[in-house]
Subunit: 513 residues, 2 copies
């Protein structure tokens, strides 16, 4: 179907990237949630999501909603996308409150840019390999949104999945010629017999979690079905966009107390306004857009997706999206197997040897390995909870940490020392910094380093080393054209990352001066 | 039962330590066979074996038979036992030829010391926790050997094991008052119904592989049942102990050839004699003592063992020797489990998280992980074979390598560099050495190093570093009282262990001068 080009300037993409999924542990970690993982395809799920929409709207019309905690990491994570990454705009939730508040907050921002704006809501952690197909289907969805409908994408089910919500389509008496289908209702996750019935009936689709609508329409739906969310959003709108209204004594400012004089002018300062927004947002009840809106609204249209899709809800979802070998296995990484069947091995450089596994999942990372039958992968979250309770932080972080200038990997931690391999991208430099509690030995193993140490500037070549004493301002830079790789041996009694004072930084991280 | 003290000066212990078992991979490796592993108990199996016999015979009466390849490593491995380690004598097989030739070779040596000598043959890789019980039973066995019988130890079976040979005891009509039982015959590994029958009959025992006999008697048995082995042993005897006989033209010297004049005097030189022995030994057919002798001999007595025993034939043997938790699991190392049953997890520092495993074995080492159902652990050898075929040498060695002066662990190998953590024991020093292809950066992270570099001698303290350029003679020593720990970053295109020229060594390793 050939559609006219949509008005891309009024179309905005909102990528929901606030999830901190534990279901892909040990590959996913607190600081590396699922959307940042490369599980399928050539890139991480989040970067694939951005690529999927690239060209459909101007880069500055791409917005990412995430939490304040993750915001900087997400920003750095997007860097490899090049110039488009810098155009993307971020909305930070002070805390996660599920999809309805996140979408409402984004709608508020976009509606402020234009009351005519259309928003395309996409999860950041789904797999959709066919970007062209996706954009074709999206044009159809935009058409529906322009008619002021709520538009969703439905996936034709190929198995009686009980982990998804379903969309029931109206009888096709008055079918639309453009292919958009009228939705009768959203239905919750079914049991197996019900799911089997849905499949045989043929007019049930999986709910993909991708939506298109006018911001005006979704805000109006929120007003109708989630009035308390709407009220808070309106309060936040005033704080964000009409701060002068705050000067007048109104409901937003509590009455004066003797020890706490009302200082309404302070609210014109961005920090105070931001804190006020945070307070308001944090007070919201978490609610999903499906439960809060879609199950209650009328005028919903559905695009029957022509693209492949998986929500990658757990390790076993790989079976739906990755091609298996003749024994039904998916073997990734350095594996050697004898006679396993229907098993997923997801490893890396370490050797994983397996014999005769059946319907298992085995995931290996440098510091943790997980083994479970497929039917019990939902219990991975219990493992993560136990680790949290035990305070086993290391298994909630990764050994390899991405940074805007490159990455580092902790090779070993011992009593009084820590060893890192540090990779600095060509042209990149770390912040000008200082450590109070540790000294650092650097051995350059490839490339050439430019080092600033106190008032000196000097070069350290491959197979040379240098020493940064404690309490000494220093900066490491890769002026070359190939990655600079150094082995850093830290010495000291306290070797945590937070022993750092930054004086200058290329990436806008907080400095002490 | 109280026995008189045996004549310990005429009793010799022969520990068979030539095995290179692959069944405990990935914990066992080519350079770290099963006898060197700490699988059960407080020490490695080999060191436990030595401790088990300690005090029963003088230390210099303990002999270890192993292969030439493993001999040095075994010697270093014994070091932690202290003075006793230095008294132990080694017999090196040029190549492994199974137990009958190994025992024959040992008998030859002991018989030369005294024709009255009694030899106690013990595998080096079995688990016997109760050392006192073992020594008590041994006294009874010696009594039998003094009567010129072949004495073996039988283990009362508690399950219809098909992996062991069995010993059938004579009807007890003429039972001996001392408790020694007359053996009717040795029987091969049975099938399950036969094993069940053996257990219900009550006069069948497992063959433990521990034997006691006079050297004169076993040599005479070899003469009878393995005449070709006997002939070769006699030839070796002449070469080892009567080299002057070699000067006379006899069968051992081939007739002169024109280009190869007979130089019989050369055979008085130890190297030539050793080469001749090696040639003779290598020509032997591999045969086990059970098949070659025990199944064919008469006059066999059996001690019904009062000690606990396991031959640790595979990972699943742990079930017999280690106490299980209430769900039948054995969980060793850094593990976190939800609801597994009858499963063995054998890990170390890395985190192993498991959910709902049943009857599985999961073994984790720093560079390789193995997972298999218990019923298929016999196939581990296929994994090892595949790794050999692939040339994946790294999984046949361990990351951590024991050395007489301490140990080193390879932390990372990359293009052009390798990182090691090196631990030097107090008072120990590495050889004076030189590398042709690599330079080394050393960062001391604990202790103090004494460094010789060319003509300099200097100290490097914690948090200091030094550099050893390529082609530079150097030596590293720990003159202190605590372990010295350094991080070594090697640089070069070729970073293998064999790039080393030794000039002086405290441990007798070959030097170039």
């Amino acid at each position: 179907m050939k559609l006219n080009t949509h008005n891309s300037k009024l179309s905005f993409v909102v990528i929901l990237a606030g999830g901190s999924g534990t279901r892909f542990w040990p590959l996913s970690r607190e600081t590396c949630p699922k959307q940042m993982l490369q599980i399928v395809g050539e890139d991480t799920l989040l970067r694939q999501t951005v690529k999927r929409i690239n060209g459909f709207v101007p880069p500055e019309n791409i917005w990412i909603v995430t939490t304040e905690d993750m915001s900087q990491d997400i920003r750095f994570h997007l860097e490899p996308l090049g110039p488009i990454a810098r155009s993307i705009r971020m909305i930070n939730e002070p805390v996660g409150r599920n999809t309805a508040p996140a979408i409402g907050l984004a709608a508020l921002h976009l509606h402020h840019l234009s009351p005519e704006s259309i928003m395309i809501v996409m999860p950041s952690d789904h797999a959709i390999p066919e970007h062209d197909q996706f954009q074709e289907d999206l044009k159809l969805a935009i058409k529906g949104a322009e008619e002021n409908c709520l538009v969703t994408f439905g996936i034709k089910p190929n198995r009686p999945e009980t982990g998804y919500g379903y969309i029931k389509i109206d009888d096709q008496k008055d079918a639309r010629p453009d292919g958009l289908l009228k939705v009768e209702r959203f239905v919750e996750k079914p049991d197996v017999p019900t799911a089997q019935k849905y499949i045989s009936l043929g007019n049930y689709y999986w709910n993909s979690g991708i939506f298109v609508w006018k911001t005006s329409r979704i805000l109006s739906e929120i007003e109708t079905h989630l009035p308390s969310l709407y009220k808070t959003l309106k309060e936040i709108e005033v704080i964000l966009f009409e701060p002068n209204k705050l000067n007048k004594p109104n409901k937003l400012n509590k009455p004066n107390k003797p020890n706490q004089p009302n200082k309404p002018n302070k609210l014109n300062e961005p920090e105070s306004r931001s804190a006020l927004c945070a307070m308001r947002y944090a007070s919201l009840e978490p609610v999903s857009i499906d439960y809060g809106i879609m199950e209650r609204s009328a005028d919903i249209l559905m695009v029957p997706a022509t693209f492949g899709w998986s929500d990658l809800g757990s390790w076993t979802a790989l079976d739906e999206i990755i091609e298996k070998d003749q024994d039904g296995n998916i073997l990734k990484g350095n594996t050697i197997d004898i006679g396993s069947r229907n098993t997923i091995i997801f490893g890396g450089e370490r050797l994983i040897a397996t014999i005769g596994l059946k319907d298992m999942v085995l995931v290996d990372t440098p510091d943790a390995t997980l083994a479970a039958p497929k039917e019990r992968v939902q219990e991975i979250r219990k493992i993560v909870e136990t680790l949290k309770q035990k305070g086993s932080e290391e298994y909630l972080l990764h050994k390899k940490v991405e940074r805007p200038w490159g990455n580092y990997t902790v090779l070993e931690k011992g009593s009084g020392y820590k060893i890192k391999r540090v990779v600095i991208n060509p042209g990149a430099k770390l912040s000008l910094q200082l450590h109070r509690k540790r000294s650092e030995h650097w051995v350059v193993v490839s490339g050439t380093a430019k080092v600033i140490r106190d008032s000196e500037t000097y070069w350290v070549h491959t197979n040379e080393s240098t020493f940064i004493p404690v309490n000494t301002k220093h900066r490491l830079e890769n002026p070359g054209e190939v990655p600079l790789q150094i082995i850093e041996v830290q010495n000291g009694d306290y070797l945590e990352e937070n022993d750092i004072e930054r004086f200058d930084d290329d990436y806008g991280r907080p400095t002490v001066v």
